[in-house]
Structures are given as C-alpha cells and as structure tokens.
C-alpha cells in the first residue's frame, strides 16, 4: 500500500517544484504563520514575567513543538479540508471506485510541500529554545521531545480526519468543524492552565490540545503538573493520540457508510 503513495508523492513533489520562484514564495508565505505566531506570543508575554506557570521561553517551546506537529499533520492530512467540495460536486464517487482505502487516496491527492517551510521554521525555533533552556538532558528527554512531535502530529491529523468525517453529515459546515481543528491548534500554544474549567476540559480531553505540547513541556522542564495529574502526564501523549484516532476512524467509517452520492 506504500508504493502507490510514494508514486503519488513523487508526482506532487515534481509538480510543485516545477515553478521554482512560485514555490519559493509559497514556502516563505507559509513561514509567515510562524512569524506571526512568535510575534503573538511575544506581545502576550510582554507585560507579564510568566503566564499560567510558563515563562515566555517555555511558552515559545510549547508554541514551536505544536507548530511543527501541525505543519506535519497539515502536510499529509490538510487536504481533507477539500472533502466538502468533492461531496458536493460528486467527484467523491471516483474515489470509491478505486481499489485503495478512500482516506488513503484523499491523503495522497495532495501533498502541500510549502508546509515544510513551517516545519523547518518551527524546528529551528524549538532547537534554539531547547539549547538555551538549561536542563540536564537525559536520553529520556530526547525521546520525550521526539514522541511529542510525532504524537502531536498524530493528534492534529486525527482532528483533520474527524472534522472531515463530520462533513458527510454537514456538507456546508466545513468552517464550523475547521474552527475546532484550528481553534485546537490555537489553544495548544498557550498554557492550558489559563483556561477556565469547562474550556480546559474541552481542550484537554475532547480536543486534546493540551497534550500536543503543553503537558509534555511541563514534564520536560520538571514543572509541577496541573492539579490531579501525575508528573509523568507528558508521556501520555500517545494515549491521547490513540484516543483521538479511534474516534476519528469510527466517525470516518460511519460517514463513509452513510454516503449515498448526489445522483446523476
């Protein structure tokens, strides 16, 4: 099943890099999101020494890790945003006829390489912060950072998939579900401790934004965990990712079964 994906991926790489000037502008434009995110964190922290138990430096680490995760999820799964268009135009039927899983085909239908600009910019930022943050590195810490980025990407990918699954019911509601995906991303860049009770529950256990970077960074920097949670909570990101994926795949299957086409 990997080989068709590699063929498609190679095709996308060649197509998107054919016009180099245009590709360079797209990559730079995608880095614009990194720059504005950093500026945003800077002005939020400009008037206070720390917010929700995190200094600006630690918050930038939370932002950078989440940013890298989101860019990876967006690179591979961002194209699921186009599902409502396929459903409305009937082009979705073509996906059903091909002998590959539909989700897999949709993922392979586009690979927005420009997102790699954000992956690189976010990684540079994360490395710069990690280099200067002064913790005694153990192999476990390195593993935690790698695990966080991968599982964070998996969480965002699950959110993309779940949001796409809902489109089978609400063809016109793409922006409503997208606001949970992008709102979840936005929520993930701030310390979850600033959110009032219901919002914190929403962004920890329903849309697991707090697991993307905030909780792992607390564990990494040996900061006290939120009340009621153990100090090793940062290692539970895979559980959050698995939970998010279980729900996303169940929803996707149900949506796919429900799809009946638009006729003619």
């Amino acid at each position: 099943m990997v080989e068709p994906y590699l063929v498609l991926a190679r095709m996308h790489v060649r197509a998107q890099t054919a016009y180099r000037g245009s590709f360079a502008i797209e990559v730079l434009a995608s880095v614009g999101a990194t720059v504005s995110g950093v500026c945003e964190m800077y002005v939020v922290f400009a008037s206070v020494p720390a917010l929700g138990g995190l200094t600006l430096r630690a918050a930038l680490l939370v932002f950078a890790l989440g940013h890298v995760s989101m860019s990876l999820a967006d690179l591979f799964f961002g194209h699921l945003d186009a599902l409502p268009g396929y459903l409305r135009s009937g082009a979705f039927d073509a996906f059903l006829l091909r002998p590959l899983p539909v989700l897999f085909q949709l993922i392979g239908a586009e690979l927005s390489l420009r997102r790699l600009g954000r992956t690189v910019a976010g990684s540079v930022l994360a490395t710069a912060v990690l280099a200067g943050i002064g913790i005694r590195w153990t192999p476990a810490d390195v593993g935690l950072v790698a695990l966080t980025v991968l599982c964070g990407a998996a969480i965002f990918a699950a959110l993309f998939t779940a949001a796409a699954a809902v489109q089978f019911w609400l063809v016109d509601g793409a922006e409503v579900t997208a606001s949970f995906v992008y709102g979840g991303q936005y929520a993930s860049q701030f310390p979850a401790s600033v959110y009032p009770g219901p919002l914190r529950t929403l962004f920890t256990f329903v849309v697991p934004a707090a697991f993307v970077a905030y909780l792992p960074v607390l564990t990494l920097l040996r900061l006290p965990p939120p009340p009621g949670l153990p100090p090793w909570i940062g290692w539970c990101t895979p559980l959050a990712a698995a939970g998010a994926w279980a729900i996303a795949l169940l929803g996707w299957r149900a949506g796919l079964r429900r799809y009946t086409g638009t006729g003619s």
Binding site: A46, E175, V176, A178, S179
Partner: protein
C-alpha cells in the same frame, strides 16, 4: 450611484448568510481562547494592566472578534485577480473611479456583516465573561462612525496591497507580509496599550491600530472624537496613495488578447 453600489455590495454578501454565521462561529471559538488568555494576563499583572481589568480585557477581545468580519482584517484579492485575468479592463472602461466603486461595495459588505458576524461573538461574550460596555449613547454613535472609518481604512490598505499585482502579478508574498504585520500591530492579539514602548512606537507610525484598536477604544468609551480624527487623516492619506498608485499601475498595465 454610490448608494446603489453600496446596496449591491450589501446584497451580494447577504446571499452567503450561512458562511457569515460559520465565520462568526470561528470568531467565537477564538474569542473564548483569547479572552481566557487576556484575563490570565491581567490576573498575573495584579488585576489591572494599562487601564484594563479582567472585565474590560474580555470586552476588548469580544469587540475585536466582532469586528474581524465587518472590518475584514484578513485578506482580499479581488483587484489582484482582476489585474491577473484582465477583467480590470472592464473596470477602467466604466465612467466611475474604480477605487471608490470598490470602496462603496466594501462598505455595503461591512454593513451586512455587522449583524451576522458581529452579534454572535458579543452574545457569547456577554454569556461567558460578561461585557463591560458604556451606559451612555455617545460612545456607540461615535463607535459606529469609527467602525465605518476602520472599514474604509482596512479597504484602503487592502487596495494598496492589491496594487502590487500590477507589478508582481502574484499577490501571495505581499499579502502574507501584510497579514503578519497588520495582525499583530492592529491590536487583535493584545491591546496596543500593552505593547512595550518600542513596539507601541512602531504601531503608532502605522495605520493598523486605527483599524482595530481605535474603534474598540471608542466603543468602550476609552477615547473619543480625537481618535476619529486620526483615523480620518490616515484614511485620506491612504486613499490618496491608493488613487495615485492605481494611476501608476494602469500606465504599466497590458491587457492580453482580444
């Protein structure tokens, strides 16, 4: 003619009511996050920061979220598209100033957007954090004028960014730069009053605070008529620039085909 163009702008956008409500939903979700963050900042700073307490900071966020749609803070590329496709030739053949034509239609769009994009964030804000709004009519009357000026100003900025299409054809570069700079400096994230001195000085030298901070300040009764004067001066200057830039661009323009 101008009222007709205004009405057409209103009618064109009123066809997309669901899209407007969906946009308002996004603004509400982000408003929940932003208000929590700003309330936390004020709390950390000891309950008051540059004249904002928890309630006014939350109100600031909700007013900002309500204004995103009407003021149209985020992109617009209609002019650039028309330059790219050559449709701009039709605009040039019309017996009316193209910039003012688009401005009238944009004000119509903003007027439609006021209710479906503006009301939901305010209702959610009133329910979740409460709103600290003035109890006299004057700030609202001035505020409405300030929102109109902010919309026209946002249009003038978007028009100037779009003009780069005459030279570059591709708008993505300039538009991204514009969105990054304006997004922070207009005060959408935190009030401009919270900026460190050097950044506040930079912001004050740009029209961006007049697009978001200014109408919010007027609506909350923090400032009055003098803010509107600043907005009007920026607007006059940028519209002048926009007209000159458009004249310059059309001299370079070559429409292909027949």
């Amino acid at each position: 003619m101008w009222p007709t163009l205004f009405a057409l702008g209103f009618r064109r956008w009123s066809a997309y009511r669901t899209a407007a409500l969906a946009g308002a939903f996004t603004n509400c979700v982000f408003g929940l996050i932003r208000s929590a963050v700003l309330i936390a900042v004020v709390g950390t700073a000891g309950g008051a920061l540059a004249g904002y307490d928890r309630a006014t900071a939350a109100t600031y966020v909700w007013l900002g979220q309500a204004l995103i749609g009407p003021v149209q803070l985020f992109g617009w590329n209609e002019l650039a598209q028309r330059v790219r496709t050559g449709d701009i030739a039709i605009d040039l053949a019309r017996p009316a100033d193209p910039m003012l034509t688009y401005l009238a239609a944009d004000l119509g769009r903003a007027t439609f957007a006021l209710l479906p994009r503006g009301l939901p964030p305010l209702v959610v804000g009133a329910l979740v954090t409460g709103l600290a709004l003035p109890h006299t009519p004057a700030p609202y009357a001035l505020g409405l004028a300030s929102v109109a000026l902010a919309t026209a100003l946002s249009f003038a900025c978007r028009w100037l960014v779009n003009l780069s299409a005459f030279w570059l054809l591709d708008l993505r570069g300039p538009m991204t730069l514009y969105l990054v700079v304006s997004g922070v400096l207009c005060g959408l994230v935190v009030p401009v009053h919270w900026f460190p001195g050097w950044l506040a000085a930079i912001a004050a030298a740009t029209p961006f605070p007049s697009m978001m901070q200014a109408p919010t300040d007027v609506l909350m009764g923090r400032s009055g008529a003098q803010t509107l004067v600043v907005q009007a001066l920026w607007l006059a200057g940028l519209l002048g620039l926009g007209r000159a830039g458009f004249a310059l661009g059309t001299r370079r323009l070559v429409i292909q085909g027949g």
